[in-house]
């Protein structure tokens, strides 16, 4: 009985259940000013959980793409500030960590982008006039964990090239680390988002193929197929899934067609 209780208490501590690899060395890191010993192969996220922290914020996909776990850190003895995603960055000896769950952004009203008649460059200028405060220091670029040239996309928006800025900012995962450090108090990630929305609404031509497919879906082309799949039993589903035809990787457009084309 007592053992069962102990088991329940430890369920929440994910890191505690980490099984370090054989011969894994332990290193010292600092979390919120406290010193801990953690196995050296863990990511920041896992290391903090190993130490007993539970993430209710600053944690998401754990796969490097959602932007929730953007982290600033330093290394003992080094004045520099480093950045990374906690779920992707492996701990180093002397790492000094403090997670920040949220940093206040400035987000203008993006509603109305679709209907607006304003030219794209003027639209960005009216939504985010603070981009004209940019001093070109490049801190944002140096901070970005996705290695985007943030200063460059802001520069593109400043000179009216909304499509260019939209493309340059495409990889942004909205982690907000650039926002924290900007001396001109610009919220770069929101500017990029607005830029991509404006570009998509006004500057990028529609894909004819997508339009066609959407129309096909709307007129019920796939209803029968879906109904059929829905009726199938588990074994049959497994069978048709494992034996399905797959387009080979890296085949060029139009190079490959399935043998069974009845569902195309």
């Amino acid at each position: 009985m007592p053992n069962e209780n102990k088991q329940i208490n430890h369920v929440a501590m994910v890191g505690d259940r980490t099984i370090p690899p054989k011969d894994a060395r332990f290193i010292e890191i600092y979390i919120m000013g406290q010193r801990y010993k953690v196995p050296e192969t863990l990511t920041i996220l896992k290391a903090m959980e190993y130490a007993g922290y539970q993430f209710k914020r600053s944690c998401g996909c754990r796969g490097g793409i959602c932007g929730a776990c953007g982290t600033f850190y330093r290394i003992l003895g080094d004045h520099s500030i480093y950045t990374g995603l906690a779920c992707q960055t492996v701990v180093e000896p002397g790492m000094i960590l403090a997670q920040s769950p949220f940093f206040p952004p400035n987000r203008a009203d993006h509603i109305g982008i679709l209907d607006s008649k304003m030219p794209p460059d003027e639209h960005i200028a009216t939504l985010y006039p603070e981009i004209f405060r940019c001093v070109g220091c490049g801190t944002c670029t140096r901070t970005c964990p996705m290695e985007i040239d943030v200063m460059n996309y802001i520069a593109l928006f400043k000179r009216g090239d909304v499509l260019g800025g939209a493309k340059e900012s495409f990889d942004c995962i909205m982690c907000g680390l650039c926002v924290v450090r900007c001396p001109a108090n610009i919220t770069q990630m929101e500017v990029g988002l607005a830029g991509r929305r404006i570009a998509a609404a006004k500057l990028i031509s529609r894909s004819e193929v997508t339009k066609k497919r959407a129309e096909q879906v709307r007129t019920g082309r796939y209803e029968a197929m879906l109904a059929e799949l829905g009726q199938m039993d588990r074994e049959k589903l497994k069978e048709i899934y494992t034996s399905r035809e797959r387009e080979p990787n890296l085949s060029g457009p139009g190079e490959w067609m399935p043998k069974d084309q009845s569902h195309l």
Partner: protein
């Protein structure tokens, strides 16, 4: 065709890509007709439009330094002389003064170099389009290329402030009695209207905080030019153009409006394009508040005979 034209690296600045696009297009078209080709450097950012007057402000030099190092790379890759041509007076001023600051105090460049994405070696020379016309092409040679008779047009050269000041660093012309735009206008065949307000400030960035002041200053300049008999003004600065033009547009219908049609304000390259006989349709005259084409009717007429080459 491109092989015969001298490759000149070009820094546009933000305004030249939007509000002053006509300035850029006319400058580029004229360049090709004259014998050089302006090549925009691949990566650039806004210069900041402001050279910091406080000496301890290194942050204000970061953006221009970035531009200079991109220009330097552009020239090194092509093994050409590191000249960077600009059109906008603000950009010209900011970049040239930054370059001067780095030469005068190399320590500043050293500090910034530790901070920038690459080290700037200090090789770039910043040149204004007018400077290029005067010193490389030569106004005499320019005069020989003129195709249209501009002699009925009385044009007042308006210099503004940042093209010329501070003289020690800009070293383009005398800030009190400049002649470069006068000589340019003479070379293209216009009647030059010398007037005292040619170096008076249009109000600059006060348009953000005190537009009434800009209205007052602009009006004084335009009224004086009109009193001295000018049909139009030329300028080299998008902000001067905007301040003078929009202020004039706002006064339409009031007692202060200049004449019946208002006083048009050209970019000097727009007028040069007319004089060279180029197609001016892409040069965005329609973007001006005061329509410039009204005063151009004498020299834009179809079938106007090309004039004899001047000796």
């Amino acid at each position: 065709m491109s092989e015969n034209l001298t490759h000149v690296p070009y820094y546009p600045g933000c305004s030249l890509k939007t509000k002053a696009l006509g300035y850029e297009r006319s400058a580029m078209d004229c360049a090709k007709a004259i014998g050089f080709e302006m090549h925009e450097i691949a990566t650039w950012n806004c210069c900041g439009a402001s050279f910091p007057l406080t000496k301890d402000n290194l942050m204000g030099l970061a953006a221009p330094a970035n531009i200079l190092l991109e220009a330097e790379q552009h020239c090194q890759e092509r093994e050409i002389d590191a000249n960077l041509i600009t059109l906008c007076s603000f950009c010209y001023n900011t970049l040239k003064r930054t370059d001067f600051a780095f030469r005068e105090e190399p320590k500043k460049l050293e500090t910034l170099n530790a901070f920038l994405k690459r080290k700037y070696q200090g090789s770039v020379k910043v040149v204004h389009y007018l400077e290029y016309l005067r010193d490389v092409i030569g106004f005499d040679n320019l005069a020989k290329m003129i195709k249209r008779d501009m002699s009925n047009l009385r044009v007042a050269p308006y210099y503004g402030c940042l093209l010329l000041k501070p003289q020690k660093e800009m070293a383009l012309d005398d800030p009190e009695e400049p002649v470069i735009l006068h000589d340019f206008l003479e070379a293209i065949g216009c009647q030059v209207v010398d007037f005292p307000g040619q170096v008076d400030c249009c109000g600059s960035y006060l348009i953000m905080r005190d537009p009434e002041k800009v209205l007052e200053l602009s009006h004084n300049i335009l009224q004086e030019a009109n009193d001295y008999g000018a049909d139009a003004l030329v300028t080299a600065c998008p902000l001067c153009q905007s301040n003078l033009d929009q202020s004039e547009g706002e006064r339409r219908g009031s007692d202060h409006y200049i004449g019946v049609q208002g006083m048009p304000i050209f970019y000097f390259t727009q007028l040069l394009a007319v004089a060279l006989g180029l197609d001016t349709e892409p040069h965005q005259f329609e973007r001006h508040c005061i329509d410039p084409t009204s005063v151009l009717s004498t020299c834009l007429e179809d079938g106007a005979e090309p004039i004899e080459a001047k000796k």
